[in-house]
């Protein structure tokens, strides 16, 4: 922990950031370092259960999240969450356990401890847009992303469901646009910002993902975007890893690099390609970044 940090958070990276989304983890840590925001990873955090757990066993899902919230409670500061799915699960758990006493009692029995619901769970976007603030974020920019047209993709879980207090208007969110415009990029209005990519069907029913993700790529391309920005490893996987395959199936050519928000903000803040994990991206972003004089 560096003493000149201006803010401190406990950090819940989630499983993907330790595996397929390593570049999200790397760029987050590097970006927050230069923004002087401290991140203390919650020791021995567990998987939040993600979609499969609540899909078939809500009690297990709530218990896993409650256990993580208990672990987070031992560290000073609000909880910073990178993955949209983890974020949604942790927030939903707080909501359900506050509203429903029967479920809260069951969960307390399952984790053998009183549930701790006081932690403020925040997605990285909220930390950048609200806690740090767009002005301070803009002040950290070394290399404005001038001329880069970004399609901000929210997917499902950043803003939903509507009764759980999440980070922005459920139907017309602007937080991603506000963050990336603050570092100099241009955003494009497009129609599929909130449509589902097929999420974890990528394992069981990839055909579904290919169809849904194609519609999203098609819409971003049609809107004139150079690239897509996401805040969720699962969306990223579908848009980036499966992009070549989709191009093959639909006989088209998108060539849309898919960045994590911390990669683009980090780029503007002056981080180099090695600290952003750009080499981990399947759709090579280098030609685009060179064309725009950003690398």
């Amino acid at each position: 922990m560096s003493s000149d940090n201006i803010m401190e958070y406990s950090y819940y990276p989630g499983c993907s950031l330790h595996a397929s989304a390593g570049e999200y983890d790397l760029s987050t840590r590097e970006l927050f370092k230069i923004l002087k925001i401290g991140l203390t990873e919650i020791p021995d955090w567990f998987c939040c259960g993600a979609t499969p757990a609540h899909n078939v066993d809500e009690l297990l899902s709530l218990s896993l999240c409650a256990k993580n919230l208990e672990l987070a409670d031992e560290i000073e500061g609000d909880v910073a969450v990178a993955c949209a799915a983890c974020f949604s699960r942790l927030k939903t758990t707080q909501h359900v356990l506050t509203e429903n006493e029967t479920k809260r009692k069951q969960v307390e029995k399952a984790i053998d401890a009183p549930v701790k619901l006081n932690s403020n769970v925040k997605h990285l976007l909220e930390i950048l847009a609200a806690d740090l603030g767009l002005e301070r974020l803009a002040a950290a920019v070394h290399k404005p992303l001038t001329g880069l047209k970004v399609a901000c993709y929210y997917g499902c879980l950043l803003t939903r469901p509507t009764d759980v207090p999440n980070l922005d208007c459920v139907e017309a969110p602007t937080i991603m646009e506000r963050v990336i415009e603050a570092v100099g990029a241009e955003t494009v209005p497009w129609t599929h910002r909130l449509e589902c990519c097929g999420a974890n069907f990528t394992l069981s029913r990839p055909g579904v993902v290919i169809q849904l993700t194609n519609a999203i790529l098609d819409s971003a391309k049609a809107a004139g975007a150079d690239c897509i920005m996401v805040g969720c490893p699962l969306c990223h996987g579908n848009l980036d890893i499966r992009q070549k395959e989709i191009e093959g199936v639909y006989k088209t050519d998108y060539n849309l690099p898919v960045f994590y928000l911390t990669q683009l903000v980090g780029l503007a803040a002056g981080l180099g390609a090695d600290k952003l994990g750009l080499d981990a991206m399947i759709v090579n972003p280098m030609p685009l970044l060179r064309e725009k004089n950003l690398i």
């Binding site: 459920v170 139907e171 017309a172 129609t191």
Partner: protein, 665 residues
Amino acid sequence: MSRIGVFICHCGENISRTVDVERVAAQIGKLPGVAFSTDYKYMCSDPGQNLLKKAIQEQKLSHVVVAACSPRMHEKTFRKAVEAAGLNPFLCEMANIREHCSWVHENKEEATVKAIEIVGMMVERVKKNRVLPSITVPITKRSLVIGGGIAGIQAALDIADCGHEVILVEREPSIGGHMAQLSETFPTLDCSQCIMTPKMVDVANHPKIKLYTYSEIELVEGYIGNFQVTIKKRARSVDEDKCTGCGVCMTKCPQKKIPNKFDMNIGMRTAIYVPFPQAVPNTPVIDRDNCTKFKTGKCGVCQKVCGPGAVDFEQEDQLIVEAVGAIVVATGFDLYSIAEKPKGSPIKGYGEFGHGKIPDVIDGMTFERLASASGPTGGKILRPSDGKEPKQIVFIQCIGSRAREKGISYCSKVCCMYTAKHTMLYHHKVHDGQAYVFFMDARTPGKSYDEFWRRSIEEEEAVYIRGMVSRLYQKGDKIVVMGSDIAVGVQVEIEADMVVLATAIQPQKGADSLAQKLGISYDKYHFYSEAHAKLRPVECATAGIYLAGACQGPKDIPETVSQASAAAAKVMTLFSKDQLEREPIVARVREAGCVGCFACKKVCAYGAVEEKEIRDRQGNLIKVVAYVNPGVCGGCGTCQATCPSKSVELDGYTDEQIVAMIEAL
């Protein structure tokens, strides 16, 4: 010494089955002060009442107790009988030995003992009853009608035609309301303007109607028969007496690009304007927010060109006080909008439909203006964005209505019918176009209504799709409609040129603050509440105030007109007498004891407590005490319970009477 008569009723077997009525009569007859005690099978019947009257006269009774059912049932009956026999009606009390005793007990012995106690209590109470003179209040036979839409116009004309003066107050520069905006009306498709404007002219020409337009209610004081209403007449900047309505000012005004609210902001108007050509009064008004003269001091063209010199930039708002005896509230409705709502609002917008930012997604009233021959497009259906004629048009019902998630659970009642009408108007005007309607249920009860809806499908070729729409978005110059057809069980996608939303009916903005001025109640949506949903549907719980039209709940034109005439009939019933008689159960202040703390004034729900100055002969102020206006007092007794110095008493329910009852136990 009192000579009390006690009359015990069997109520058929309702009471006598569980109460030994003869024993009660015998027992009560022994009480001091009771001169006569008897029982009878049906005390409320004609022979029963005659028995009571005869006893009063023969036994020279001073007070009467009838032991029977609830006073809610027959108190009036017996007090009337007592009055007919020459006693003051308030010297008669009822002892409830049916609902409070025989109906709720099974053991006859115990029930009989309880009945004796109940009657005994009332005997002690009635000894303390005083003669209460009936209260009369004068009636000012003029009425106020608030709102100049079809409801207010109808009510005003009906009352005025009976010869009573009417003050009609309208917030906008012209009367006419929403009905004047409509193109054609269901289920007969007659032109709204054609049936509306003659009525507007009748109002203007009626000798008994005094019209205040561009005016609002500022303050309401008083009570039934005697209201004082302060009206704020906003400065029109045009002298109504001098103006001839020639319209030269409007043709010369250089500010020509101001969106006209009457045309749902599609058409444009000048800064000095009448909202529409058939306006009543046909006197322009200057919109000071948009007038160059008011903004910069330069211009004044209208004043220069006005022949009669009617334009008056110096005119100021005026406060006018009118005395009226009855008030009809007819403030109408407003349309829900899908725009984003401020944080914390109980009502939400439709982000999934673009929050109103897609230009060719319009609401039903905008479509009315497009379809209206006198509208901004001359009756042509054209898209607001590029003026093209839409060939694929989608109507979506239940927008905001029946949507708990958006904060409105009720059905707006008129949308099914007007949407069917819109499909017909569209079909009549765009022969090669196709109309689609997304709907859940078609609610068409009403004379010739369902036939009308069926006609839109069977003859006018509208395609109705049973299912709702999840999302609307702009794609090129089309609007993608993502819907579903639940009968087939598939998703439906339509690329539409224009989308018309049947948005919910809400009460007029500011309905709540007007209600607070009037002292009437409203529901959580701010629709005004009627006194009884079935039996008093046009009266407010507050005496002397009546409701007409959509301010009480969503309504179509026929229903609004019926309710307006009903409200007018209620006003005429009130005006049919010269004085209003009311029950003398009112609170009275003992001025000697009153310390002027006005705790009673704070708790009075009727606003009946006033401040009264007590002065000596030289006119020096001694103290200020509370005074209860008997015309306004509701007789609830809250002031009596609140008064710290025990200086207020409710006639008929004095502390003395209640204590006597308790002591009798």
